[in-house]
Symmetry: C2
Subunit: 191 residues, 2 copies
DNA sequence: AAAAACCGTTGATAAATGTCAACGGTTTTT
DNA sequence: AAAAACCGTTGACATTTATCAACGGTTTTT
C-alpha cells in the first residue's frame, strides 16, 4: 500500500530514503478509502489533511450562486489532493473535493508533515520540488487562460494532459477549462 | 538602499536577522537601476536573477502571434520580479519583464539565493512563506478567471489590489484581467 | 513650441461563448 | 428488467466580449 508513496518520494529526492526513514514515513501517512461521489473535503470545513492518491481520481471545485460547479483541479494517481489555501490559513475552504472514482489515499495533516520534514530533510526537499512544479503549472495554466481562445486552450490541455482526457468525461474537462460542455462539444466537432 | 530589503525580510521571518546576517544579505544582493521602458528580462533569455523591487513598477508579459501583449504579472515595491519557470528549468523565458516606471532593484541569482539559504536558514523560511502566498494568490486568480464574468473579475481585482489600479493605466489592468481595454472601459461605465 | 505618443472613450459590427430545451444512447441504480 | 441518472450532441437564440476605426484630451519627446 505505502510502496507507491515510497517510490514517489524516492523519485523526487536526490538519494533514496533509508529503511528507517521509510518506516517513519509509513507511520505518518494513514490509509483512507473513499467511494465514488464521496467527499474528501466539503466547503466550509478547514482542510486539515493532504492526500497522496494511490489509486482513483478526484476533483476540486467550487459552486457558484447559480449552483454551477467550477472545477479548479483534477487529481489522479501520484497527485496530492487538498486545498492548500485553507490548510495554510486555517480558514474554511471555498472548495469541495470529491472522488470521481473509488479512491485510495494516504493522508497526513499539515502539522504532521511539518514534523516529518524536520525528521527527514529529504521530505522538505521533495516538498520544495512539488511547490516549484506546482507554481510552474499554475503559471502556465493562467497564461493559457488569459491569452488563448477556448479552442487553443483545449488543444494545449489535451496535448499536455492526455491522462485527464481519458479519465474524466467531457463536461468535467469543459468546466476545468472554464467553458460549457456545449462549447467544448462544438469545438471538438469543428476541428 | 538595502534597508528596505532587510525590513522586508525581518517582517517575513520569526526573529530578526543578526547584524552579521544583515551584512551577508547585503553582499549577496546587487543594486540595479532600470529606466522606464527598459527590459529586466527579454523573451528568449534564461532568467538568471530575481529582483526585489525597492522602488518603481514593472510588468511581466508575453507577446502572441498577433503582437498583442498579455500581462501575466505586475510588480511594485516589495514584490519579487522574475520568471520562476525559466529560473528553475533554465529554459529560455516566454516572457518579457520591463519597467513601467524608473525602477530600483536588488537582484540575486538563483544559485546565490540557494547559497544564502544554506548560510541563513531564516531566508529559507522566508522563501517558503513567499511560495505559499504566491500559490494562494495564483489559485485565487485562477478561480476568479474561470468562474467569474469580466465585470466581477474587475471588481474583485479592484477590491484586493487597489495599489495596482492607482499605479498602472487602465489598458494594462485590462490585459492583466484578460480582457480588452474597450471592454474594461464599458464595464466601468455601466457600474 | 510643435510633434508625437499615450490614454480612455465611443460607435458600429463581428465573433465567441453561454443558455435553454430536447434527443438518443449509454451506464448505473433500484 | 425497469427506471433513473448520466453523457454528449444539436438547434435556436441571447449575451458577452472582441475588433476596428475614430475622437479629443493629456503627457512626453523632440
Amino acid at each position: 500500500m505505502h510502496d507507491k508513496l515510497i517510490t514517489y518520494i524516492n523519485q523526487h529526492i536526490s538519494s533514496n530514503l533509508t529503511t528507517e526513514e521509510e518506516e517513519l514515513v509509513k507511520t505518518f501517512f494513514k490509509y483512507k478509502k473513499i467511494r465514488k461521489k464521496q467527499y474528501f473535503l466539503q466547503e466550509g470545513e478547514v482542510c486539515k489533511n493532504v492526500g497522496f492518491v494511490v489509486s482513483g481520481a478526484l476533483r476540486l471545485y467550487s459552486v457558484d450562486d447559480k449552483g454551477i460547479e467550477h472545477i479548479a483541479q483534477l487529481y489522479i494517481e501520484n497527485y496530492w489532493a487538498g486545498d492548500r489555501e485553507s490548510s495554510i490559513t486555517l480558514q474554511p475552504s471555498a472548495y469541495n473535493i470529491d472522488a470521481w472514482e473509488d479512491t485510495e489515499l494516504l493522508i497526513i495533516s499539515r502539522a504532521e508533515m511539518l514534523d516529518l520534514t524536520e525528521k527527514i530533510p529529504a521530505i522538505l526537499q521533495m516538498l520544495r520540488l512539488m511547490d516549484e512544479r506546482n507554481a510552474i503549472a499554475n503559471q502556465r495554466r493562467l497564461k493559457s487562460t488569459i491569452s488563448n481562445t477556448a479552442e487553443k486552450r483545449y488543444e494545449e490541455f489535451a496535448e499536455h494532459h492526455p491522462q485527464f482526457i481519458q479519465r474524466f468525461p467531457q463536461h468535467i474537462i469543459a468546466s476545468f477549462l472554464g467553458i460549457t460542455k456545449e462549447t467544448l462539444s462544438r469545438i471538438k466537432k469543428q476541428s
